[in-house]
């Protein structure tokens, strides 16, 4: 039994605790004090408070944390985790502020509290060094998100989506738990680091392979990789704005970090080989296959979509594929690439969801044709949409491009000088060329198509526009100066992760 210093643990957990406190405070204030106020005020307060809490947590992390592990390695605090958490907090804060004038619910406090709780789950996930903690954190996130998806009780679609999400999620969690139990059986430990050591002499064990597949199923569900993506279109389409945005951004970022940790640290030695015509069994060929299918299927399916949200859903599947390339290349510069990628992808996708939800609210639908006339009615909104979509498409100098390029480069360099994973890179580049077609369809509607005279004017409010602009500017800046993130990440990874 390892002696536990609770004081230190609490100190290390302060960011998470701050958020929990904020969630409780928002909930309490909303229920007790603000009941009679207009929804606008209630949302304003909740958003402001959330933003404040997030900032405070970020401030705390940047000012006073030392890299350390707690509970014998179950809870990891490193520069990387702190950085990822900062990113998560930023994404959460932006999400909440962006959807502040949402109309989908009367229960403002509960909604924001759930968002905050799911963020706490993600933060714990990032720090999890133990399978149990990992599972708990994952469930915290998932449960919060299930209920968030179902939050709009008036909408059949949302309910349907929530149910689908819940059922798939539950199944995935079960699979994952099964996988964890096998790992425990193989190594006798739930600590990821120990598992890594324990598996060293068990490469090729069929049980290990089953465990790997199970674990991958659980996390694959979180990141919406093929074939665990079936929930994505319905949820992205049906869920309330903030839920969808959070699922697409923060949850993905956290899941990728933990996936990378599991694969690299947990299954070290069981990599196998995914190079062209020299496959050997291991997690790499498995991930490579999942990545390839995600990219191909996601992009092809997205081509056929007419709803912006469903389009974003399939594009998310494809992006999961690209990001998996980074996970594959963790040994090289893949991890910073994938963190950068996931974070900037989060920014762009929140922005795109913001626009989609806004249009849906104004015009009652989110089909691509509903975007018509945007460039004329609100040029700034159209510019923002352009930035988000082009960043998703990977057009320089936006962040999406640098991310993609970095991921591709890392993957290609993995087996250098053999260029063994080049087949996967070629596939990704080819599919991302295809993806341009549907991204351009979005822009075509927004910029080129003739507006429908009878359609409602798309003039966004100041707050929405401001957040969207911040997101767009961030996307541009991070694309032009990726060093802002990449350098700190590289620095952080030099020490530990």
């Amino acid at each position: 039994m390892i002696p536990v210093n609770y004081g230190q643990l609490v100190l290390a957990l302060i960011p998470e605790l701050l958020l929990v406190a904020a969630a409780l405070a928002v909930l309490g204030a909303d229920l007790m004090v603000l009941r009679e106020q207009s929804k606008r005020v209630r949302f304003g307060f909740a958003a402001g408070f959330t933003g404040f809490a997030c900032l405070a947590a970020i401030f705390w992390m940047t000012s006073s944390t030392e890299p350390a592990t707690y509970l014998g390695g179950s809870f990891i605090v490193s520069e990387l985790t702190q950085w990822v958490k900062t990113g998560l907090l930023l994404l959460t804060a932006l999400t909440v502020i962006l959807f502040v004038d949402g109309e989908f619910t009367e229960h403002v406090g509960e909604c924001v509290a759930l968002i905050l709780m799911s963020t706490v789950g993600m933060m714990l996930l990032v720090s999890a060094g133990d399978l149990l903690l990992l599972f708990v954190a994952l469930e915290l996130t998932s449960l919060s998100l299930y209920s968030l998806v179902a939050f709009d009780k008036r909408s059949r679609e949302a309910t349907h989506a929530a149910l689908q999400y819940f059922l798939f999620g539950g199944m995935a969690a079960a699979f994952m738990l099964f996988g964890f139990s096998l790992l425990y059986g193989l190594t006798g430990s739930t600590l990821i680091a120990d598992i890594g050591k324990g598996l060293a002499d068990k490469t090729g064990d069929p049980v290990l392979l089953v465990a790997m597949v199970m674990v991958m199923a659980g996390l694959g569900f979180k990141v919406a990789a093929v074939p665990f993506h079936l929930w994505a279109p319905a949820v992205y389409r049906g869920a309330p704005g903030p839920a969808a945005a959070l699922i697409a951004s923060g949850s993905k970022l956290a899941s990728f970090v933990v996936l990378a940790r599991l694969m690299f640290a947990g299954f070290s030695g069981a990599e196998g080989d995914a190079a062209w015509r020299s496959y050997t069994v291991g997690w790499m060929p498995l991930l490579a296959g999942v990545a390839a299918f995600s990219m191909v299927l996601g992009n092809l399916a997205a081509l056929a979509q007419s709803s912006l949200r469903r389009l974003l859903a399939f594009s998310a599947v494809a992006h999961a594929g690209y990001m998996l390339l980074g996970v594959l290349a963790v040994k090289e510069t893949g991890l910073q690439a994938v963190v950068y990628y996931a974070f900037t992808y989060g920014l762009a996708t929140i922005g795109a969801f913001g626009v989609a939800v806004f249009v849906e609210r104004k015009r009652g639908g989110d089909s691509l044709t509903d975007l018509a006339g945007m460039a004329k009615q609100s040029p700034l909104l159209a510019v923002c949409l352009m930035v988000f979509v082009l960043s998703l498409a990977g057009i320089p100098p936006l962040a999406g491009f640098v991310g993609k390029f970095h991921v591709f480069y890392s993957a290609a360099a993995l087996k250098s000088p053999g260029l063994g994973l080049l087949w996967l890179v070629v596939l990704s580049i080819a599919t991302s060329a295809i993806s341009l077609y549907y991204y351009l369809q979005v822009l075509k509607q927004a910029w080129v198509a003739k507006e429908n005279e009878t359609a409602v004017n798309l003039k966004p409010g100041v707050a929405t526009l401001a957040v969207l602009c911040v997101l767009a500017v961030l996307t541009v800046i991070l694309g032009c100066a990726p060093g802002l993130i990449l350098e700190t990440l590289t620095e952080a990874l030099k020490h530990s992760w």
Partner: protein
């Protein structure tokens, strides 16, 4: 010299400024755009005057960017860049002059236009492979909007085709770049450093076609040229001037910098194949132009034909052919701009038809003497008549091609003859058809040719004449540049 990067920034700032001006203030918008264009041109000229021809590659800015794969923000210039920057400047100014009458979504038009120009400047000044690609891709998006929003018939189809072709090309290039960086160790993406790196022959064998063909798609390499005619035709005048004048050059420039210079052994392996594709493009483009009914399609296909010569020069593996190719890039940029200016702006905007048969009965030679004379001179230049810039360029390319393989030179010569035929045919039908008075359809008197149009046409004409009569002006930039370290690998590979 150090002001050269400002060509990029000024264009971007100009785009921003135009976007911020109130939409009602039409004149301010136009003037702001023109101002940005002129500053770019003046900066280019200033740099050209102060450029020391023997200096090789002059670094303008070098700044660490993404160390993970050695990318730097590295802007530099050699003689070739200077020539291309000048071309861009001229194309930008004249393009704006020829768009003086745009009224539909004016602000966005000029904003996209300047964005495109800035990106093009960026490509020509980038000496880092990654940065190069960044600007290259950046140029694709505005051109989509320029064609899709302000284009003519079939604009959305043409714009999509244009962009998808570009992206297929980019995808090939991207694979090539990733592989190149990985193989060279990822320490530096600088073109100079990569030019010194000895790539394995087996690598060059497949990397070269990726890079070269990927870029050359944008240069209208047959059989990947089909975006060009439709794109040129559907685009608004200024955009077709830029597409044919500058964008196609981006492709050729990229093929030179990232294909030819980096992978000489690959070039040698593929020389024959690509040379033949280029020659087929020359003859095919000219032959198809010969039977077009649409005035703009004639010019569109002629671009394919003329760019074939550029590609032929690029693979010729000798100094004369290479400098000819670069000169042809400049020359064709100017001439195509002029042709599209006359056809798209002067004629189409007044007659509202591009059908040669319809133009035939309008007696344009007498009704629009300025347009007619301009088009005559432009046609002569386009045919490659001596005295115009096209001649010395095509001639040098042919010399280079001959050294490579006389048969190709001869077939290309046949293409040039067909080029003469289709140019004459278009010229004759559109402006000097033999119509008797009774055939002439009565029509509203056309608006006279405006001052901006005249100025634009005169700038372009003067350029092609000056360069034609005294090509040394440009060759003094181009030829020392071919001596620079960038071409070290090529020299080792047997550049003559």
């Amino acid at each position: 010299m150090n002001a050269l990067p400002w060509t990029i920034y000024v264009s971007f700032l100009g785009a921003l400024l135009v976007a911020c001006l109130p939409a009602r203030n039409v004149y301010a918008i136009r003037l702001a755009a023109l101002f940005a264009g002129v500053i770019g041109l003046v900066l280019g000229l200033y740099a050209a005057v102060n450029f020391e021809a023997g200096a090789g590659v002059v670094t303008l800015i070098k700044h660490e960017w993404v160390p993970a794969f050695g990318a730097e923000y590295h802007l530099a210039a050699d003689g070739i860049s200077v020539v291309m920057v000048l071309l861009t400047g001229i194309a930008a100014v004249t393009g704006i002059l020829f768009s003086w009458n745009v009224t539909h979504r004016l602000k966005e038009f000029f904003a996209f236009f300047l964005l495109l120009i800035g990106a093009v400047y960026g490509v020509f000044l980038s000496f880092d492979l990654f940065l190069f690609f960044v600007f290259y891709e950046l140029a694709i998006v505005p051109k989509y909007f320029l064609v899709a929003i302000w284009g003519g018939q079939n604009r959305e189809y043409a714009a999509m085709k244009l962009v998808l072709y570009s992206f297929i090309g980019s995808a090939l290039v991207l694979v090539g770049i990733v592989a190149t960086l990985v193989v060279s160790g990822g320490q530096s993406a600088s073109l100079v450093t990569l030019g010194q790196f000895q790539f394995a022959e087996s690598f060059q064998y497949w990397a070269f076609p990726l890079m070269f063909v990927g870029f050359a798609i944008l240069a209208g390499l047959w059989p990947f040229h089909t975006w060009a005619p439709t794109g040129h035709v559907a685009a608004p005048t200024a955009a077709s001037m830029l597409l044919a004048g500058v964008i196609m050059k981006l492709g050729a420039y990229g093929a030179l910098r990232a294909g030819v210079c980096l992978f000489p052994e690959g070039l040698i392996a593929w020389q024959n194949v690509i040379g033949w594709l280029a020659v087929i493009g020359i003859v095919y483009g000219a032959s198809v132009a010969l039977v077009q009914k649409d005035f703009k399609f004639v010019i569109g296909y002629s671009s394919v034909s003329h760019m074939g010569l550029v590609i032929l020069g690029l693979v010729s593996m000798n100094i004369v052919g290479l400098s000819g190719a670069i000169l042809q890039m400049f020359s064709h940029g100017i001439i195509a701009g002029l042709l599209f200016g006359v056809v798209g702006r002067m004629v189409y905007e007044r007659t509202h038809t591009r059908d040669l048969n319809a133009l035939k009965v309008m007696n344009l030679g007498k009704v629009m003497p300025f347009a007619a004379v301009t088009f005559v001179l432009a046609s002569l230049a386009s045919m490659g008549l001596p005295g115009f810039s096209g001649f010395i360029a095509e001639f040098s390319v042919l010399i280079g091609a001959w050294a490579l393989d006389p048969t190709k030179a001869v077939v290309a010569g046949i293409g040039i003859v067909i080029g003469v035929a289709f140019t004459l045919r278009a010229l004759q039908t559109a402006f000097f058809s033999d119509t008797t008075a009774k055939d002439i359809q009565p029509h509203e008197p056309f608006e006279p040719i405006t001052l901006p149009e005249r100025v634009g046409a005169v700038i372009l004409l003067a350029t092609t004449l000056i360069v034609g009569l005294y090509p040394k002006l440009l060759l003094d930039f181009i030829q020392p540049a071919l001596e620079s370290p960038l071409f070290d690998a090529l020299r080792k590979g047997g550049l003559e």
